[in-house]
């Protein structure tokens, strides 16, 4: 054991602000947290790592007052606390910035930021002007002076909304600030702003808890890191005392072979499965032409919001007024709806951006979610062939390795990674030959990610054409045979083979000329 690692059963030292002892929480038969001891101190950024289902979310919910533990106790600054609501926790100085945004879309920025404790006039009514001033101060603090306090939140793009969320949290004067995947929706420049703010807050003496799946973020920010696995606190260690591989091992608890499955070597250009020519959709897509061959995984990269999402939606028939031509296996098709895209002869699939609202019917069973897209193939006349359906469902659960209790359970009971597997399984059941992936591994644990990479490569090897949009450069490099970089709705670069490097990806994303391309862009 490294000398800088602390034993996980540390009962807390004198300058710890938050101390949790023997905390346990179960949902039905699932032990979300088992006998956890955990502590963090003021003036430090403390990262919490772990796969989905490791217990991080439950830990955060207990600390921030959203749920109560079944057993164990918690102290803040020496005083024993038992928060029964987020409001109570906030009164004690515990503030959480959530991944699921806690903003009311129809209210203004100022109303959202000041909602719990707005400034009041003499008569107890809300002082709108003072609220607006307070809002402007907080927005300036997070470097977002360009946001108008009276703007309706629903009119703001996702990354701006996240910044408002952070400003709102700061407005509560936290002593302990918790960020749960708070940067996943941010643009790169906003991420930098947030890092600066967090460092400043740490220097000001706040305790910060930071949950993220992104290794490079943890390295940039965290002074201390704790790893959770299967509801238990495994280890806490200081910055720089563990390598990435060691950390991942702690999280998964088993040996890793390779992260990505090997890419096949190709001499001949494969037949085109999906081809688009001059695809245009005002204003997000401009004259896009690309080909995905049978058996290829083609990546789409670039900065957030350059049209990648719109490209996938356009291909799947969701957008109206798309110009250009689409060819499936060489034949021209005009795709007007997802129903048409799914059916023969196109056989397309889309793994959407937000699994909870776009990919799954959460209260319905795992089995019903799995079969919903493939039902047309499972019917005899108007009736569903329940025997065939059942068989195919079992098969898919095995193939995609979904960990479930009973297949009739609502899919909402599954962890994020398993939920995503259900979404993918749903589309595998249709026998899709063209698969569009919209950031499929966002917010998913490392172990599941690896399974998914294997699955994608398997699919490709079986002859499917895969278009893989991801915000993670590692994935582009590790999974994709070719990569297209989008900038401002246009393809600015195509990278193949050894050219797929982080440098090339980054510089193309910023639309900078790279090496031997300098003449082309001049």
């Amino acid at each position: 054991m490294h000398e800088n690692a602390e034993p996980a059963s540390d009962a807390g030292t004198a300058d710890d602000f938050l101390v949790m002892r023997g905390i346990s929480k179960s949902y039905g038969g699932v032990h979300a947290l088992s006998d956890v001891d955990f502590s963090c101190r003021l003036g430090s950024i403390h990262a919490v790592l772990g796969e989905n289902g490791a217990g991080k979310s439950t830990l955060i919910k207990i600390i921030s007052g959203v749920v109560q533990p079944d057993r164990g106790e918690m102290t803040l600054g020496g005083l024993t606390v038992a928060h029964t609501s987020p409001l109570q926790a906030q009164a004690q100085g515990v503030v959480c910035v959530f991944q699921e945004l806690s903003l009311m879309p129809d209210l203004s920025v100022a109303d959202n930021i000041c909602i719990t404790d707005p400034p009041r006039t003499r008569f107890g009514l809300i002082d709108n002007r003072a609220a607006r001033r307070r809002t402007e101060e907080l927005l300036a603090r997070v470097g977002c002076e360009d946001i108008h306090p009276m703007e309706r939140v629903s009119n703001l793009p996702l990354s701006r909304r996240q910044m408002v969320e952070i400003a709102k949290a700061l407005g509560r004067n936290p002593k302990l600030l918790i960020l749960d995947e708070a940067t996943s929706a941010l643009t790169a420049s906003d991420v930098e702003k947030v890092y600066a703010i967090l460092h400043q807050l740490r220097d000001d003496g706040l305790a910060l808890l930071y949950i993220s799946h992104r290794m490079h973020e943890i390295e940039a920010l965290a002074d201390t890191s704790s790893v959770f696995r299967n509801g238990r606190h495994i280890e806490t260690f200081r910055k720089g005392t563990r390598t990435d591989d060691e950390i991942v091992q702690l999280m998964i608890g088993r040996d890793l072979e390779t992260v990505y499955p090997p890419k096949p070597k190709r001499d001949v250009r494969p037949d085109p499965g999906l081809e688009v020519k001059h695809l245009t959709w005002d204003p997000a897509l401009k004259d896009i032409s690309l080909t995905v061959g049978r058996g290829e995984i083609v990546g789409i990269g670039g900065l957030d919001g350059q049209g990648q999402r719109e490209l996938l939606l356009a291909l799947f028939g969701v957008l109206r007024g798309v110009q250009g031509e689409t060819f499936i296996d060489g034949k021209r098709e005009k795709i007007r709806s997802p129903a048409q895209a799914k059916a023969d002869p196109i056989n397309m699939a889309l793994i959407p951006e937000d699994r909870k609202t776009e990919g799954l019917m959460l209260p319905m069973g795992i089995d019903e979610n799995l079969s919903i897209a493939a039902l047309p193939q499972l019917t005899r006349g108007p009736m569903i062939d329940t025997a065939a359906e059942s068989e195919r469902i079992e098969e898919m659960i095995r193939r995609v390795n979904i960990k479930i209790g009973n297949r009739h359970d609502p899919v909402a009971t599954l962890s994020g990674g398993n939920q995503q597997k259900v979404v993918i399984g749903k589309w595998l059941m249709t026998g899709a030959r063209i698969v569009l992936l919209n950031d499929p591994t966002r917010g998913i644990d490392v172990g599941t990610k690896q399974e998914l990479y294997r699955l994608f490569r398997e699919l490709a090897d079986g002859g499917a054409s895969i278009l893989f949009y991801t915000t993670d450069y590692d994935e582009l490099i590790g999974s994709c045979d070719r990569v297209f970089i989008l900038y401002d709705g246009e393809i600015v670069r195509e990278l193949t083979g050894d050219d797929i490097t982080e440098t090339n990806i980054v510089s193309s994303s910023l639309n900078l000329p790279t090496g031997n391309d300098a003449e082309a862009h001049a």
């Binding site: 059916a343 959460l362 019903e368 919903i372 009736m383 569903i384």
Partner: protein, 315 residues
């Protein structure tokens, strides 16, 4: 979705049915000395009349499962009956059903394609139908009599014991249960009620499913209207009004979630029987309309308190 599994709402509903029968019987025994509630002829009569609500509620359930609602049922029911009686003969019958088909299509188009909230769109359609009927009837009660088919399904009985309306109700029920549990259309309905965006992105033609559900609802209202006019031997003004709120109540009491996505058809049947019995017991007890309304409202609230509770919104 096994057919014989007993649901909590259905179980509670059945208990309440027996409770109502018990209370009513005790009352009649002590006040009149007889127990009409326990007599088969009386019960059959209740079912005979209750079938009209049953068919209406069956259609309403389809729409509620989607997370929508159909407030055009009252005048769809009335218009179908009035037009059918007025035109007469088989043409009249077909016209009546045609009204249901047309209204369902219009509702479906408005909700599925124009994306107008169903509550407000069907409300508007109801008002239009009312206006049309006022225009056509000159504001008076229509004089024409019910057609033969209407009499057959609404009034007639076989062997004087089996009301045709009940047979019709059973047929409608069988068809809908089959659709809900065995067809992909039914599966899509539950899916849309749970999460329309995910269903759409799963490649389901969601607008057609919505249109289909509204057509079924309006057709059921039409059929109920024709049958009801047959029972009364004629169509009459505002005959559909007493069927709106009770049909919604029956669906919800039967365990179907008002926001859609959950519910079993057996529950709706239980809900209908419950309401029909409740209303008949209250009139047997010769309660004033006032007390009937009070008890009706209170019973619904109490039953929902027992099992209809939603979850506290946590996150």
């Amino acid at each position: 979705m096994t057919a014989l599994k007993i649901d909590k709402p259905i179980a509670i509903g059945i208990v309440f049915i027996f409770a109502i029968l018990a209370v009513g019987t005790i009352y009649t025994l002590t006040h009149i000395g007889t127990a009409p509630l326990l007599q088969p002829t009386y019960l059959i009569q209740q079912l005979h009349f209750g079938a009209f609500l049953g068919i209406t509620a069956a259609g309403m359930m389809m729409v509620i499962l989607l997370g929508h609602i159909d407030l055009s049922v009252p005048w769809t029911l009335t218009a179908s009956a009035m037009l059918a009686a007025n035109i007469g003969g088989v043409t009249g019958d077909l016209t009546g059903l045609g009204v249901g088909l047309a209204v369902g299509l219009v509702n479906g188009l408005g909700v599925a394609y124009l994306r107008v909230p169903s509550m407000i769109f069907t409300l508007g359609v109801n008002t239009v139908l009312l206006g049309l009927m006022v225009m056509l009837t000159g504001g008076h009660a229509p004089q024409s009599a019910a057609t033969d088919l209407m009499l057959f399904i609404g009034r007639d009985r076989t062997f004087d014991v089996i009301p045709h309306s009940v047979v019709l109700w059973i047929l409608v029920s069988a068809a809908l249960v089959f659709m809900l549990t065995r067809t992909s259309f039914g599966r899509y309905m539950y899916a849309i009620g749970n999460r329309e965006s995910a269903t759409y992105l799963s490649g389901v033609n969601t607008p057609w499913v919505i249109v289909g559900a509204f057509v079924i609802c309006s057709l059921c209202a039409s059929i109920a209207g024709l049958a009801l006019a047959g029972y009364s031997a004629r169509a009459f003004q505002a005959m559909g009004d007493p069927y709106l709120l009770p049909s919604i109540a029956a669906v919800v009491l039967g365990g179907t979630h008002i926001l859609g996505g959950r519910g079993r058809y057996a529950g709706t049947v239980v809900g209908v029987i419950l309401i029909v019995l409740l209303q008949s017991v209250l009139s047997l007890m010769q309660m004033d309309e006032a007390y009937r309304q009070i008890i009706y409202g209170a019973v619904i609230v109490v039953m929902l308190l027992i099992y209809g509770r939603g979850d506290r919104v946590q996150s």
